[in-house]
């Protein structure tokens, strides 16, 4: 049936191509429009919204969710998903936190303390790497469906974190740990700089390397990728390892900002939020832009902070934030439907 195309379909596909191109840039345009509208809205409705103080505070908060969303996005791009991003992030923070609180000798030379902190961060990254290897081997080599594999590792990693900490939040880090999470460079919060750096890195990896190219092709059609001599298993392993490392970076930001590490940090919402951001950014297997993830993260933060400030003192204001996120998602779907709705039915 697919071969048999009447002139109608041919004609339509011309339109499709046009809209598709419009859409890809259109998604970025749409998100930018939403971002500006919301910023303007809160600027005029909330007195203190558009002030250096509140902007700085947002720039401190959003990188955690941002980098975690990148970790989610790349797995969706290759046709999978990673439900264990937040569990990986927590495990990395917990292991690094335990290293800092238990492994540093009491009579340590203060000059060496910085090296211990750096060592802890490297350990966190290593944990993220290993978590990624476990996911990647299960998905790429054993062939477990990504949603099941990462649901299993989500529980597994959370279990390890809980066991290691006995459910207690790890605190008492050296002061220098907080530098990343609390200092600014030229007025820009360090977490935000790190977010921008990792966004750029992800962009380069996805768009400028054969690995990123293959990731998108596998997401589009894994069988054809295999028949094109792509080593699917290696690429998938790479994707989940990268996802694990990005998750661990988030863990470092969280422990640095809160000066603590907990098995349960963000468990209830973070994973769903990263999926929500990916959906908002229009990421589907084979297609998706890093810049859209970046803007989608900004939008969510503006909504969150804006409503928080708008409704200060109102009971149930935090529920209203979730409500607003939901509404936003629905609006984006509807707009997308009208922009490209018909073309998807082809």
């Amino acid at each position: 049936m697919t071969e048999e195309s009447t002139p109608k379909v041919t004609k339509n596909s011309q339109v499709t191509i046009f809209l598709k191109h419009l859409h890809i840039d259109g998604q970025t345009l749409l998100l930018t429009g939403v971002f500006i509208t919301l910023t303007l809205f809160f600027t005029f409705t909330v007195q203190k919204f558009f002030t250096p103080r509140s902007i700085t505070s947002m720039a401190f908060q959003l990188p955690e969710l941002g980098i975690l969303s990148l970790a989610m996005m790349i797995t969706i791009l290759c046709g999978g998903i990673n439900l264990s991003v937040n569990a990986t992030s927590n495990l990395a923070a917990v292991v690094a936190g335990l290293f800092l609180t238990r492994m540093i000798p009491t009579e340590v030379d203060p000059n060496l303390l910085g090296w211990y902190v750096i060592g802890a961060f490297i350990i966190a990254i290593l944990v993220g790497f290993l978590c990624g290897v476990l996911n990647g081997v299960m998905i790429g080599y054993i062939g477990v469906p990504p949603i099941l594999a990462t649901l299993a590792t989500f529980t597994f990693f959370t279990g390890i974190s809980t066991g290691l900490t006995k459910g207690v939040t790890v605190t008492g880090f050296p002061e220098s740990v907080s530098i990343i999470g609390s200092k600014t460079i030229a007025g820009i919060p360090i977490p935000f700089i790190i977010f921008v750096v990792f966004t750029l890195l992800t962009y380069i990896i996805l768009n400028g390397t054969p690995f990123g190219f293959k990731t998108r092709m596998i997401g589009t059609n894994p069988t054809a990728a295999e028949f094109s001599a792509v080593e699917n298993r290696k690429v998938l392993l790479g994707v989940y390892v990268l996802s694990g490392i990005l998750s661990a970076v988030t863990g470092i930001l969280v422990m640095s900002r809160t000066m603590s590490a907990a098995y349960e940090y963000g468990t209830t919402t973070y994973v769903l939020l990263t999926i929500l951001i990916s959906v908002l950014a229009g990421v589907i297997p084979g297609f998706g832009k890093v810049i859209d993830i970046f803007i989608a993260v900004l939008i969510l933060q503006v909504l969150s902070t804006g409503f928080h400030m708008l409704l200060t003192g109102v009971r149930g204001s935090s529920f209203f934030r979730d409500f607003a996120w939901g509404i936003l998602l629905i609006i984006i779907f509807i707009v997308n439907y009208f922009v490209r709705g018909r073309t998807q039915n082809d």
């Binding site: 002139p7 041919t10 054969p210 589009t220």
Partner: protein
């Protein structure tokens, strides 16, 4: 002559600015076997959909059993005895044969409870009417394509069909199943039931048609008694140009002493046994055989997807071990799969990306970044060389026609500079015009020094392209022919013979 079952007059149909059908008239009489022929996109599907009431024509009249329908609905069409069997047969794979055949009857009589005896009775009656026996309790998903088709036909007959429209019915059938289907069609004819057989397989059309109707670009260009129309005439009317197949320049193949590829005693469990052959430089080697003869497995073994269990493979005299696709590619072997959509293409991705995926690792700078300029140059160069018709390489590959899509798959492998190219059914689902062009391309590639293994059961295709032809039967290479020693008719018989013999052997 009796009244026609269907008579359409001066039907036109536009989609946006495109004219799909332009003043087409067609009548079909009781008991007639009429073939509707046209290239992809010629408008034949639109015509079927108008006859079955799916589309309304912009202009023109439809008479069913001499009754004018101003606004024909699918229900009207079915009530007048017109049944369409689409390529997917519209069956329920999770229900049994009996349930599938009887379901329309049960629905029509608004039965809320199932009477199993009645279901079985109806199903048996339906199968009897086409002289077919099938296990009534078998689930449809366990049946072959051919059997599913027979069920769809039985269903149509039970609905008191007077005209059965079959849309590309032989696409997934083996030669023998095609013959069985033709028998059913002739049976139907004897009962006064007409068939509109829609196809672009011209040898089949020639065999079954009483009347041949050809449409091209939405216009009827031929409508006459099928006797005396040969394939060349049909091709001419389908494409609007003469396809010259008689004077093909074959390049002489290289010498036999240093073959490009030599295979010795290659075996794969459940695939093929003890296969040995050699492929020379500049040679196109045909491998033919019916579905299940092991021809695809052999291709997949040489390409590393299904590595062989035993035997030896030599590339240019050097023994190689091909256990993965990567190793095959390293040994400069390329493979164009038979399932283009699933295995060959990334439909939603751009033409450029579809081409360069095979060489992306070679297009990087020292620090591992893709050279985007070189990348575009490479893909553009192949789009030009393969004459892929598209306004831009950035468009998704799904916007291309079947023939152009196949060129993209070919370009993907040619970009790797292969020495050996394995083509599995390279023109399946490709229209006649592109088919001839792809055949020309294959000869040209051989001329440039590539050794080509062409796997196909399209006999004219083998004669168009191959120097030598190997015949496979139940996993073995049983015969080898030089192209010039045999003719198409002979090879066709050997192919069918092999199936009958294989069956006889298995029944022993």
């Amino acid at each position: 002559m009796s009244e026609p079952i269907i008579r359409v007059e001066n039907i036109s149909k536009r989609f946006g600015g495109v004219i799909a059908l332009n003043e087409v008239s067609l009548s079909i009489f009781p008991g007639e076997i009429c073939c509707l022929v046209g290239e992809n996109g010629s408008g034949k599907s639109t015509l079927i959909k108008i006859i079955s009431g799916v589309y309304a024509p912009d202009e023109g009249d439809i008479y069913l059993n001499n009754k004018l329908y101003k606004k024909l609905t699918p229900i009207d069409s079915i009530r007048e005895g017109i049944q369409v069997i689409y390529q997917d047969f519209s069956l329920f794979p999770n229900l049994t044969v009996a349930e599938n055949i009887a379901i329309n009857h049960q629905l029509a009589h608004r039965k809320n409870l199932v009477n199993w005896q009645e279901v079985e009775k109806i199903a048996r009656e339906g199968l009897q009417r086409i002289n077919i026996e099938l296990p009534l309790d078998e689930l449809v998903e366990n049946l072959s394509t051919a059997d599913r088709q027979l069920i769809a036909i039985a269903k149509a007959i039970l609905a008191d069909a007077r005209l059965i429209i079959m849309d590309e019915p032989t696409t997934a059938l083996t030669q023998k199943e095609v013959i069985a289907l033709f028998k059913v069609i002739i049976d139907l004819k004897e009962r006064g039931i007409s068939t509109l057989f829609v196809s672009h397989k011209l040898n089949e059309v020639r065999e079954i048609a009483e009347r041949t109707v050809i449409i091209r670009n939405g216009k009827k260009v031929l409508d006459q008694d099928a006797r005396g129309i040969d394939i060349a005439t049909m091709e001419y009317h389908m494409t609007g140009r003469r396809l010259d197949s008689s004077n093909i320049a074959f390049s002489p193949p290289g010498d036999m002493h240093t073959p490009l590829l030599k295979v010795e005693n290659l075996s794969l469990r459940h695939g093929f046994v003890d296969v040995s052959f050699a492929l020379r430089k500049n040679e196109v080697l045909g491998i033919t055989g019916l579905l299940g003869s092991g021809r695809t497995e052999l291709a997949l073994a040489l390409f590393g997807e299904l590595p062989a269990d035993s035997g030896r493979i030599f590339v240019q005299g050097k023994e190689v071990h091909i256990n993965s696709i990567q190793q095959a590619v390293k040994n400069q072997i390329g493979y164009v799969p038979d399932d283009r959509i699933q295995q060959g293409l990334f439909l939603d991705q751009s033409i450029n990306d579809n081409i360069i995926i095979s060489v992306i690792d070679r297009l990087v700078t020292r620090i591992g970044l893709i050279k985007s300029k070189t990348k575009n140059e490479v893909s553009n160069q192949w789009i030009q060389r393969m004459a892929i018709k598209t306004p831009s390489g950035k468009l998704p590959v799904k916007t291309l026609s079947g023939g152009n899509q196949q060129r993209v798959v070919l370009a993907k492998w040619l970009a790797t500079m292969p020495k050996i190219l394995i083509l599995n059914g390279p023109t399946v689902g490709v229209d006649v015009g592109s088919k001839a062009e792809i055949h020309e391309l294959i000869r040209q590639l051989a001329n440039e020094g590539i050794g080509i293994i062409l796997i196909s059961d399209d006999i004219p295709e083998l004669f168009q392209t191959c120097h030598r032809i190997l015949l496979m039967r139940t996993g073995r290479i049983v015969e080898e022919y030089q192209r010039n020693d045999i003719d198409e008719q002979y090879l066709y018989q050997r192919l069918i013979f092999s199936e009958n013999q294989a069956k006889a052997v298995s029944e022993d």
